[in-house]
């Protein structure tokens, strides 16, 4: 009684599906895995990837966890293996965890590249590197030092205490701080669970707990507007500076109001575009290990260091230039 309407529904759906099935078969299939697909950062990557897929005439699958979840990433990759995709492009939530699944894919003849956050080197052929972790950490720390003239208290807000690349950035930021800016003081590191509202609460608490706090560095994208809103509400615009890694669209208002000084990021659409180009080239065999440059349709000749395809330097969005970008 209960399953009969269900089966009818399913049968109807099957008819619809049968038609879509045959169309895609002749194309090369590229599967792209973000860390969390709702994140505006990856949404913007996808926009670039979509364009590349159109330009190159390949089929793009884009799927990932809605929350950054290492186990779900593995499950999605294993699903793609049995779906027989041609090439997989992965932003690894957790380096070791994903590598087991990626090695399995390679064993079955599926090409693997990584972007945004790398897996272990033997689990992929190339890493499309948007900016080295050092590059990011140094840009942020140097910018913080520039704003504070090299002295004063600062705090870091990151996504979660378990995200691999967040921790790597944090450690490199701390290294740079200890080496170059001994007069500055890191007073706290707080997680915000990738929630803007929580980042705002954390920033508020930080400002009251550390009255001499001069700067908040937010290294995950929801935390930048969250921290900025907290500073603005506390009436400390200018007294407590905000910098971070984030998207222009989410921070435009605060950058223009002078609450947030700098938002650092690379051009995420270009990252998505280049990733797909590289993935397709690897699958077609035109990009082989040992290559020194990679010709991109959109970005010109791209430098390759070892097995890292380099997108370029991080870009700093400020009051002057932020209106030119709409992602």
């Amino acid at each position: 009684m209960k399953n009969s309407p269900l089966t009818r529904l399913l049968a109807a759906a099957a008819l619809v599906l049968a038609s879509t099935l045959s169309a895609a078969e002749s194309q090369l299939i590229v599967a792209m895995l973000p860390k969390s697909k709702g994140n505006a950062y990856f949404v913007s990557c996808k926009a670039g990837a979509d364009r590349a897929a159109r330009d190159l005439g390949v089929k793009l699958l884009f799927d990932g966890p809605t929350d950054s979840n290492a186990a779900k990433q593995n499950e999605i990759v294993e699903n793609w293996i049995t779906l027989g995709v041609d090439v997989i492009a992965v932003a690894a939530e957790n380096r070791e965890g994903i590598s087991t699944a990626l090695r399995k894919a390679r064993k079955q003849g599926i090409q693997v590249v990584t972007y945004d956050a790398d897996a272990q080197p033997d689990a992929r052929s190339f890493f499309v590197n948007q900016a080295t972790p050092q590059g990011i950490a140094h840009t942020l720390m140097d910018d913080a030092a520039r704003l504070l003239n090299g002295e004063g208290e600062f705090a870091i807000i990151l996504a979660t205490l378990t995200a691999a690349n967040q921790r790597e950035w944090q450690q490199l930021i701390e290294k740079r701080w200890k080496e170059k800016y001994p007069k500055m003081k890191l007073v706290a590191v707080r997680p915000c669970d990738d929630l803007k509202d929580k980042a705002q609460s954390e920033a508020t608490a930080l400002m009251s707990a550390h009255p001499n706090l001069k700067l908040i560095m937010a290294i995950c994208s929801p935390a930048v507007p969250g921290a900025a809103e907290a500073v603005k509400q506390a009436g400390k615009t200018g007294k407590v500076k905000v910098i971070g890694l984030g998207l222009p669209s989410e921070n435009r208002r605060y950058v223009k109001e002078g609450v947030t000084d700098t938002v650092v990021l690379w051009k995420t659409e270009d990252l998505g575009y280049l990733t797909i180009e590289a993935a397709v080239a690897v699958a077609k065999g035109t990009l082989k290990p040992g290559a020194k440059t990679f010709p991109s349709r959109k970005l010109g000749a791209i430098e390759i260091q070892g097995d890292n395809i380099l997108l370029g330097k991080p870009f700093a969005f400020t009051k002057e230039n932020i209106d030119q970008f709409n992602f």
Binding site: P65, G97, T162
Partner: protein, 354 residues
Amino acid sequence: MMKPTDAPSRDWKALLLRHEMILLYVLVAEWLFFYFAGTSVNRRGVVIGFGTLDRQFDVLRHSCEIGLLALALTPVIITGGIDLSVGSLLGLCAILFGKLWHDAGLPIPVAAGLTLVIGTLAGGLNAVLVTALRLPPLIVTLGTYSLFRGLAEAITRGAVTYTDFPAGFLFLGQERWLGLPTQAWLFALVALAVWLLVHRTTFGRSYRAIGYSSEGARHAGLPVASRLAGVYLLAGGIAALAGIIYTARLGQAKADAGTGYELFAITAVVLGGTSIFGGAGSVHGTLLGVAAIAVLKNGLACLPVVMELNAAEEIAGLLTGALLLLALTGGVAFRMVPRLRRPHRAPSPTPPSS
């Protein structure tokens, strides 16, 4: 009013059977649908998608941990309790196992054994609070839900990830033994044990009696407290095992392991026909519930139309929620559900606090 369910009368049993049979039809229909709609041949002439053996094994591997938690929860829910902490405990056990092996240098089997003991002890914390202090399980395990996850984060300071486990251990989570994924054998073993416990021993009968009316069970001379303690201890032990298998499947132990698994497990148990009020339920129902959710989730990911939408997980979640509601409302037609919630503990009159 209600029919007595502690000594299952014939028609009650028939009705229960019916729920599980319907679930079985749904499962078979699901499976057949995905088999035909989710399988195709790619450019190189290779069969891909849901119909491949690899895919079927993936379904098994991916549902193992949630399946174990659902098995752990079945006796708990039959007694009228609940355990929200199993997912967090999975995470805690995973990192404790990693720590014992990596930092303390213990051999894998010893570390695994100790982890099982620790998991059982952690279940013991729930057991003590629920039985000795007679606190409501929902609240106790809500607290331990935070506590266990928090301890896992505190121990690793969030950052430490244990990896580089030896191949022999990873065999447990990633390879096959006698034709099936290794962990599937362990899962089958646990499933069989829990099934025997619930359906073929006096323990199982006493769980139902307690779930139906713990006061009544007490008057009938059942050792309610120790029986209740037993199910929470068991849940802790099984959660620890799930933590070890999770570690082997991913090749890493990290503090966020198993986040949100408790909800999937509870969903599977309830979908399987176990009454959330306690008193009635079955292990095979739970297994069917787990399978229905796992096939749905994995099958959807193989459908071209879903791939176009890039939203397999969301659609699976939506349909799981809908399936659960359907099972519940459908259930109303067949059986009489207690109209109002009965208290989880013995109805000893609680004076209003404050």
